[in-house]
Amino acid sequence: MDAMTSTLKPDPSMIGGVPKLPLARLPDPEGLFITRAERFEFLALHSPNLAPYLRFLGAVAHAQAELARELPSSAPIPEERIALARANRMPPLDRNAMRDGLSEVLDRLCEKLATVEMPEPARLALRALQAAEASDRDWVIGNVLTDAIPGDSVAPHLFAAAALQVHAAMMASGLHVEQMVPIKTGICPACGGRPATTMVTENMGAEGARYCACATCQTLWNEVRVKCTCCGSTKGITYRSVETEEASVKAEICRECGHWVKILYQNKNPTLEPIADDVASLGLDLMMRDTEWTRGGFNPFLVGY
């Protein structure tokens, strides 16, 4: 894509129309969270039932964008760490090393959200997080760093996960795609995280290709289509959508492992956003809950479905 816009030198692969798909698209944190906030607000206007939650998450995304602008850019990942990760097929970002940075980002996010309108249970969780003892905070931070949100305390973890999204996205934005290697189906090549949703993109040079959206560091990475992003099986894949076959959000079901992950057809609707539209299509989750299949997409804003 960049080759088309940033240089006048002709690129034969673009002329031939068969460029190689980039492994990943790294996040531009501020732009990404602004786009997400706007998408949440737009979706709130068109989804009267979910509007209160969508507006709230829009406000969270706005705060995330502000944080991404204000925070200093993170230190580049040392060359040795990248070489080690490449040699052993590991993600270059070390989740455990995010602990200290995350704590500070979480403090600042909580401050920004203090003025945001939210229901009492959310407010309680936010205050509890701010007043929490060090050991409780470490517990919450440890949980979101391992993508393991306890079902009995979803609310405080939502704020911590939102802080981690900013922190991890800023670290991922400093990586270089050409230094990254695919790790395993359904594992983010930047931070080792899991996808919230996957998208069929229509970007120049990646028309019809599928990218997984990391729920944590917001990196998009290429994954073969018609393949389960939970177990890697290509057998028994089928799709379900609400009411119409023409839907631009569908559940990609794997009969092998029994999980399903949402697939967003950006080629049908370029404004689809991997996190915001995941939340706004909660109706699909509610309907899929009555089937034999289990949700496989990880989204800290949609726990328990």
């Binding site: 129309g17 068969v18 190689k20 798909l21 009267p48 039932n49 979910l50 209160p52 939650y53 709230f56 939210m118 229901p119 009492e120 249970p121 959310a122 309680l124 969780a125 205050r127 509890a128 007043a131 929490a132 003892e133 409780d136 517990w139 306890p150 079902g151 009995d152 305390s153 979803v154 609310a155 405080p156 939502l158 990646a206 028309e207 019809g208 290709a209 599928r210 289509r225 018609v226 290509t234 894949i237 089928t238 799709y239 379900r240 959508s241 609400v242 009411e243 119409t244 076959e245 569908k250 909660l282 109706g283 509610l286 309907m287 899929m288 089937t291 800290p300 949609l302 726990v303 328990g304």
Partner: protein
């Protein structure tokens, strides 16, 4: 859900302690209930996406076939769209005009789905069984081979050439199918032979 006892104080302050969905835990339970009531009137629509190889030429482009309905769930599937497979190393999602029109080939009313024969003296084709069709083809091949097989050349060297019949095999075959086709056709002596047809 197990509650970590050492976190009891924190969980109590955070208003937590029971398993809940994100919307429930954050106080948006009414929104969730409204959405649940809203979708009750809807049903799930099923679709499938399947990989295949374009049937036209030896390039053998990858294609994705979209259908309404899920055969594995006992439904009837109907092809609604065919496009290039972006993951396929040969064509990376692109298709030529013929490949791009594949859906019309699949759904064409005039598409040949059963063997048909125009008998001597008749002005129209009629449907026939595979049994009869294969018998007739075998008979015609045998008669032609018996009449025109060249067993030796002018110098008396055995050549076993059958030049009066040609054989055209289609694309979208595996290496094994192509190998078998080659062996069958060449062992009969057929010279004019193209596998993976460039039609």
């Amino acid at each position: 859900m197990n509650i970590d006892l050492s976190r009891r104080g924190f969980l109590k302050l955070a208003g937590a302690g029971v398993a809940a969905t994100s919307l429930g835990a954050m106080g948006f339970g009414e929104a969730e209930a409204a959405e649940q009531a809203h979708v009750r009137a809807f049903k799930l629509a099923s679709t499938t996406e399947v990989r295949n190889t374009c049937t036209y030429c030896s390039v053998a482009c990858g294609i994705l076939i979209y259908s309404k309905g899920d055969v594995a769930a006992g439904e009837k599937a109907e092809v609604v769209h065919i496009e290039g497979d972006a993951d396929h190393p040969t064509n990376r999602g692109t298709l030529c005009p013929k490949g791009a029109a594949l859906k019309d080939t699949v759904l064409s009313e005039t598409r040949l789905t059963v063997p048909r024969i125009r008998r001597p003296g008749s002005d129209r084709f009629e449907e026939t069984s595979w049994e009869e069709a294969l018998d007739k083809i075998a008979r015609a091949l045998k008669d032609d081979r018996d009449a025109n097989m060249v067993q030796t050349n002018d110098a008396g060297v055995p050549v076993n050439r059958w030049t009066s019949t040609g054989f055209l095999a289609a694309s979208a075959t595996t290496n094994e199918t192509a190998w078998l086709t080659y062996k069958v056709v060449r062992s009969m002596g057929i010279v004019g032979f193209d596998n993976q047809a460039r039609v």
